[in-house]
Symmetry: C2
Subunit: 389 residues, 2 copies
């Protein structure tokens, strides 16, 4: 794991990644995400090794760049898709249907039918109506039931949007059987950016209780889908992916014993640190002569790739060409005429005092949830460009 902490200030004596080096040596016409496929392959190898016999299903939504999907397909990865289009992208990258799960618990009926026809066998569900849609459009499919778990320790505890209450799982297993489906197991999501393996303990305890309860009721769950949550580095220290994954697997073994099949759905953990964004400073200003902070406006913002700065949740790190100069606090904002397009204001960012319009800036560890979040053309700005190296 890279040891660059506190971004800018530490930059002079920290590792500059291959993607970042590429950006520093290139001129771009517009904001561009540079993805290092070698780093993706390296992350996959490390995580796979740590996960042991658990299968990796890359969460395609994190970054569906064809070069990433191809790299992972070649490396032997499986895929978790959120939609028909994502399944089509995985197939195009060379993964056959047996390696792709349809993990969205909210699927369009016609997409279920299409996926079933394409040979997809594993589907997620968390409700009666979704099981009915599956029974009708993918008869006999293998289904894993997603649970709501209390993920109190993640940086981003997930809402109740996905999953059913723990006590509802047996009823959904029974209902699936009655509909002719095969309920193979359980899935859950510990919460995005779960920084340390110990943070999984409480969630795994909850899921194990449901798992063993199902067995006691005569069901035979064989698949545990542990979802994502594998962290990327955004300024707060995280464990090396291999150690992290191995520690999670030990926690699982202690609670579940021997499980026939375990799958994991890393997204961010595979691609975040493989990408960096080339951006430019458009303006530096002060609102009044006695303004406490400068305002720094970039040519990329919340609506053109940096959606995860919402509520200042993900705090990106930066490289500029003035990192040897003295720094000061500033409010960082995007280029659009939208007052919500402010990246960091509550907790300002330290950037060089000499920064000015036209300066280049590298946004680090941007490989996940940037390119596809980008709007089609808000304010007339084109979507984030993507280059794979």
């Amino acid at each position: 794991m890279n040891a660059y902490v506190n971004g800018l200030q530490a930059c002079a004596f920290s590792t500059v990644s291959r993607a970042e080096t590429y950006i520093l040596n290139t001129r771009f016409e517009r904001p561009t995400l540079v993805i290092d496929t070698q780093a993706v392959a390296r992350n996959y190898a490390a995580l796979s090794q740590g996960l042991g016999r658990a299968r990796v299903h890359f969460a395609v939504k994190a970054n569906p760049a064809p070069e990433i999907l191809k790299t992972l397909a070649d490396a032997g990865s499986n895929f978790d898709a959120a939609s028909r289009a994502e399944i089509e992208m995985c197939l195009a990258a060379g993964a056959d249907a047996s390696r792709i799960s349809f993990g969205n618990t909210v699927k369009r009926a016609s997409d279920i039918a299409w996926a079933h026809g394409a040979g997809i066998t594993h589907f997620a569900a968390d409700s009666e109506e979704e099981l009915e849609k599956l029974a009708l459009h993918a008869p006999g499919a293998q289904v894993y039931i997603r649970l709501i778990v209390g993920s109190l320790q993640a940086d981003w505890p997930l809402s109740r949007k996905f999953g059913c209450a723990l006590e509802k799982a047996p009823a959904l297993f029974a209902y699936a059987v009655s509909l002719g489906l095969v309920p193979v197991g359980l899935s859950f999501h510990v919460g995005s950016q779960t920084r340390r393996a110990e943070m999984w303990t409480e969630t795994l305890d909850q899921v194990a209780e449901v798992w063993h309860g199902l067995k006691a009721q005569g069901f035979a769950p064989s698949l545990l889908n542990i979802g994502g949550g594998f962290p990327a580095f955004y300024g707060q220290e995280v464990d090396a992916p291999q150690d992290y994954a191995a520690a999670v697997m030990r926690l699982i073994h202690a609670r579940f014993g021997d499980i026939e099949s375990i799958m994991a759905e890393p997204g961010r953990g595979l691609v975040a640190d493989a990408g960096a964004i080339a951006a430019e400073v458009l303006l530096v200003s002060r609102k009044s002569d006695n303004d406490l902070h400068r305002w720094v406006y970039l040519d990329i913002g919340k609506f053109s790739g940096l959606a995860e700065t919402m509520d200042e949740a993900i705090r990106y790190q930066f490289i500029t060409e003035r990192d040897h100069e003295p720094t000061g606090a500033c409010i960082l904002a995007g280029p659009s005429c939208d007052s919500a397009d402010v990246l960091y204001e509550k907790q300002p960012v330290q950037l060089p005092l000499g920064l000015q319009s036209g300066d280049r800036i590298v946004i680090r560890n941007c490989g996940a949830y940037t390119s596809t979040y980008s709007s089609v053309g808000f304010n007339g700005f084109p979507p984030l460009d993507v280059i794979a190296i």
Copy 2:
């Protein structure tokens, strides 16, 4: 103004718009925004009449659909553009450069040079560095200085992202003159969705003080750009556009006297109620048997067009084909595998209890800030489709 209050329940006895009627009579393969250009033309006529001799510059960012731009260009509207691409769209719609202002206070230097070459003469600025960029790339340009105003009464008070402090305006006027630019006036934004004309009073008082102060210091401001803020109907009653605009103009006249040139930048007010979205219910579920609310999942969400539901700010109204049935509260969510993609949860929505997967749903008054906010392909979902009628 339509009298439909409380959306659904009132729907049976309220006006269904032309766009909504079109949706109810058509089948769509994916979420689609239907724009009624006749409604846009009607809104333009009403607002223009209310605004009297003030020129309307349509805020292109609200909806740059070519059919909207063409309708407004033909009707004689001017345009406010946020970027080079938006200027190009206006030119393509038949508006010549003299009718287009470049209103973003954060512009790329190369875009300023391009716009200057294309014949654009009016630019916004709120800082020294932006004036320097303008002097270098658009020498002699006419500049209006944007002010930060206290817009305490708008539904969405804008942040400090745009504008300079009131007391800084004279210094920026003087600096513009020293750079060979022509500082022609002031601009401000009262705040999005300012529902009643009286809410402008405090802001106009502030701006008038700066205006008269500039005159006292020997400057000759001739252009007042009153920005946008013209409201659309989202469930809370608003004044008819013509009456509203006329009332604002009276407030201006009382404070500024005779002004050579007034421009207004309505966006939402011209297009919001001209559009409706055709959507579909993908799933209705309960998280547990004793769950207080149903969850209703649509095939459109925060990342595919309904970004303005952020913090539940804009509350859209709905039409379903079950509006004669009993209703109940539900949490409304989008289709993506993102836990942030929940539209209304804190304040649930009333929808028919019989609603189920496959049901069609019309989202009303969606003509503004939907299509271009839509992501390029998050979760593999395509951007919002747009049809003009």
